[in-house]
Symmetry: C2
Subunit: 527 residues, 2 copies
């Protein structure tokens, strides 16, 4: 398949006069072809199609949408090496990482297909009529969840497959029954075009209505704002910077009809090294930390950006071993020249704010290499300077040296919301860990024991979310099957004749799905 | 019990120098005693206590919080006639209505107690470790839902018991594990004090931590804004006007850390009279409509404010019968002089916008009587003038005369979000109803067949919510057990040692609760 640089407006491919280039960040050179930038006419056309497709798409039997998701996975995998090569050229992410990411993307689509078939997301509840009840009869009341409407999905720079055109947000929204209009990330438009081809092929193969998917590309922030403001868009899913997420939240809140924005924005993922384990295993922890910090050149939402530990010989051993480990890690090329520039400035910012430089990684010889940086400050300095707790996107981390457990506790209480908090501990640390747990729960969506935050399992129990500013809505997750709930709302049907009821709420069909009958949980009948 | 007019700051009763009166709307006279108005010092004190209580309260076994809710119900019922008398004096709502509302309030608390014991709200999910999995092992991942934090609950004027101090929002938030700071409605501060006494007694009796409940009173809008802005408040629950709801949404969005606002604001609850049933049963429908419209002097969130029907002899019969029925209904006194003034202006507004007056109720001889008003306009006029579709709080309704089914359809598509949409239909109307259903689902939280929107059952399948502006977040309900989900967020525990896990996620305890194991639904083991 040759890339054309065109947009996808439903089944139509469209070229526009305004073009923008893709770049290879390792060389700084632009890549062929030039890509069409979408304007308000393309937003209008894509949203009109998405709106027109909505009622038909959301009422398809769950099995039909499941087949669509599985077909997307199949078509992405069938694209083979050229997709990975293009993603590599546009992002400088290594091929093995991209291969893993592609597998995750396919598995994610299949997991949502399985979730669709489980019917859990339908949230069926039936409270049958009680015509004889005193003092007043009860009506027949039945509840199911339906899709919100067309969703604007924003591709993320750092996961060109797993959180981009057919990534987690797209899979969850499509599963819920929401047509999607994707705003592709301008740093990997060729990869986006490949994946859009796969979705379009899958939609045709499985007979989906036109408008269930569109892809709009463009540089700058105006396209995203225009899309978010469109009255036919009913929710936004976004992964990216705090500034960009806040801007979209503002646009959505100022609409005549405000809509929910699910933005995954900013997290420094503090890791607490407890005294017991630090005393016995500082070198191992330092090696693991260096690997986690520099994974994908630190360009992970769950990068360990802050380490909290007590002053101790163990901490000194940790810092020394981390210095050695980081010095031996070959730096990778960052996703874009802009991200590299911001990272470099972020490192300078830390120094300007009085953080002590403990270690640096190799400089690297390609363009835009992300050179690891490890800093340290005493807790008192950290507590005084809010900016030291802000995210530096890239392989930088800050060790906060605490004099007392009370200081660790005070820092946790002062933290903003986080995607993750991790505890390294041994048996002896357990009482201390127990005491910190309530505060950790208030601050994060996921709490990890003896592990590192990077690596997010796509499963049922995962939470990739957390209080603001980790996300705009801490009641949600953007990874795992619970992510589908972002795009659903409950509807109650009162005294409906059987023939008018949605299929899954009719007496016979209801038994095939998990439901609550007068509040009591019932399993789906097999078969 | 004598009323003191004091505030409730945790266990402390506090008087402030600034006082405001309660009024009897039927006479316009003020009622004893004068009530203390809360200022920023009281907001500070109540929020500090709520924050301090949060960790302990949310980690109580569900059974403990269930006993607390049941004790609140018991203490409210034990207050007997004086509570009802005070509520009657302050709201002019008839005693039988208040008696019914008290029963609903008690049942609501008990329903949430039962929901707590069911464990459904915990949302337990376990994906066990897979240490042998290739290419990488899977960690042990466990999810539960925890409370958001202290919630600001705003009492509503029109339900002094069921949507006020111990109403639906309070019951849902307390069940979820959230301490509440209630901003009492200034129109019924004496009723609020009675109920606050019941909650305080129940909290003491069942050993709840101090700070789980506070009651702040005050006139004006500043108190609510100050409370919503307090950083310790993590969510807001509100029922009231669109203007007040939008103002709170604005305050919440402008916080350094934005929080969710669940505001139930504005709905005209359109009722569609289908041609078949209108031809055969116009007189019955008119009588039922008149009763629904004037229930509680039309001061219901679910008041039928718009009727859609085709031009026909049946419609003329309906209008004539409604005129007769309304003329025979004795008007009630409205909740406050201000609500009466707004209602009177709303009726004039309809006339000024060209609506034809079809019928008026009796004028009544008490102060502040809400005189029913029925208007009619052709669909074309309605479609041209957005203001005709806005809510007039009180017993006013507008019949929109449609020339064609297409016109009905166009009006539905142009409607804002609604709490309810109702269809009156017979067998012959079914195909038409079927065609309208997708649009109805997009516009409302509850769809009713052959019933009237007033009367909201408190049960599992109820949805009292709907797209904006019916509510600020159409993914929620403020009535029924699903309302608890507004105040919960998921947390994931990764590789936790058994002893550190929350109780309900430990191996043995897990079996006692409904959960999903690797996605598969498991029922709670009895015993």
């Amino acid at each position: 398949m040759a890339l054309t640089g065109e947009l996808f407006i439903g089944r139509e491919r469209r070229e526009t006069p305004r073009k923008f280039p893709a770049f290879d960040p390792a060389s700084g050179r632009s890549l062929e072809p030039a890509f069409s930038a979408a304007g308000s006419a393309e937003v209008e056309a894509a949203c009109a199609l998405a709106h027109a497709a909505f009622d038909a798409y959301r009422e398809l039997p769950p099995q039909r949408r499941a087949l669509f998701l599985e077909a997307i996975a199949k078509h992405i995998l069938a694209q083979g090496e050229p997709l990975l090569q293009r993603a590599h050229s546009e992002t400088a992410l290594p091929l093995p990482r991209l291969e893993g990411e592609r597998a995750r993307t396919a598995n994610q689509l299949r997991l949502f297909a399985a979730e669709l078939r489980s019917g859990e997301w339908l949230g069926l509840r039936v409270d049958p009529a009680m015509p004889q009840r005193q003092p007043a009869p009860r009506a027949d009341l039945r509840q199911r969840k339906i899709a919100l409407g067309p969703v604007a999905v924003f591709g993320a720079s750092n996961f060109p497959l797993a959180f981009s055109v057919a990534g987690g947000d797209s899979a969850a929204a499509l599963a819920a029954g929401c047509p999607i209009v994707v705003k592709g990330h301008p740093a990997h438009p060729g990869t986006s075009e490949w994946v859009a081809q796969a979705i379009t092929a899958a939609a045709a193969e499985t007979g989906m209505p036109e408008g269930v998917f569109s892809l709009l590309n463009g540089p700058g922030t105006e396209l995203g704002a225009t899309l978010t403001a469109d009255p036919r868009i009913r929710a936004v899913a976004f992964t990216g910077s705090r500034a960009a997420g806040l801007a979209l939240m503002g646009v959505a809140a100022r609409r005549p009809e405000p809509i929910p924005v699910f933005a995954e924005m900013s997290s420094v993922n503090p890791v607490i090294l407890m005294p017991g384990v630090l005393g016995s295993s500082a070198e191992r922890l330092a090696r693991e930390f260096a690997a986690s910090l520099t994974q994908s050149v630190g360009q992970m939402c769950t990068n360990p950006g802050i380490i909290l530990a007590l002053h101790s010989p163990g901490l000194q051993t940790f810092l020394d071993a981390a210095r050695t480990a980081l010095a031996n890690i070959t730096p990778g090329v960052m996703l874009t020249a802009g991200i590299h520039r911001n990272y470099t400035q972020g490192v300078e910012h830390m120094l300007a704010h009085g953080a002590e430089l403990i270690a640096r990684g190799e400089a690297g010889d390609a363009e835009n290499c992300g050179r690891a940086a490890l800093f340290s400050v005493p807790a008192a300095t950290f507590l005084e300077d809010r900016e030291l707790s802000e995210e530096t996107f890239g392989p930088a981390s800050l060790v906060v040296r605490c004099a007392t457990v009370a200081e660790i506790r005070r820092i946790i209480e002062r933290l903003e919301g986080q995607l993750t908090l991790a505890l390294h501990m041994d048996e002896a640390d357990q009482p201390l860990a127990h005491g910190l747990l309530p505060a950790l729960e208030r601050k994060a969506g996921r709490i990890i024991v003896n592990g590192w935050p990077t690596g997010v399992e796509v499963c049922h129990a995962m939470v990739h979310g957390g209080p603001f500013p980790a996300t705009s809505d801490g009641r949600s997750t953007s990874v795992g099957t619970l992510a589908i709930e972002r795009f659903l709302r409950p509807v109650c049907y009162q005294d409906f004749p059987e023939a008018l009821l949605p299929l899954e709420l009719r007496a016979a069909e209801l038994l095939r799905w998990p439901h609550r009958l007068d509040g009591e949980r019932r399993l789906a009948k097999p078969g």
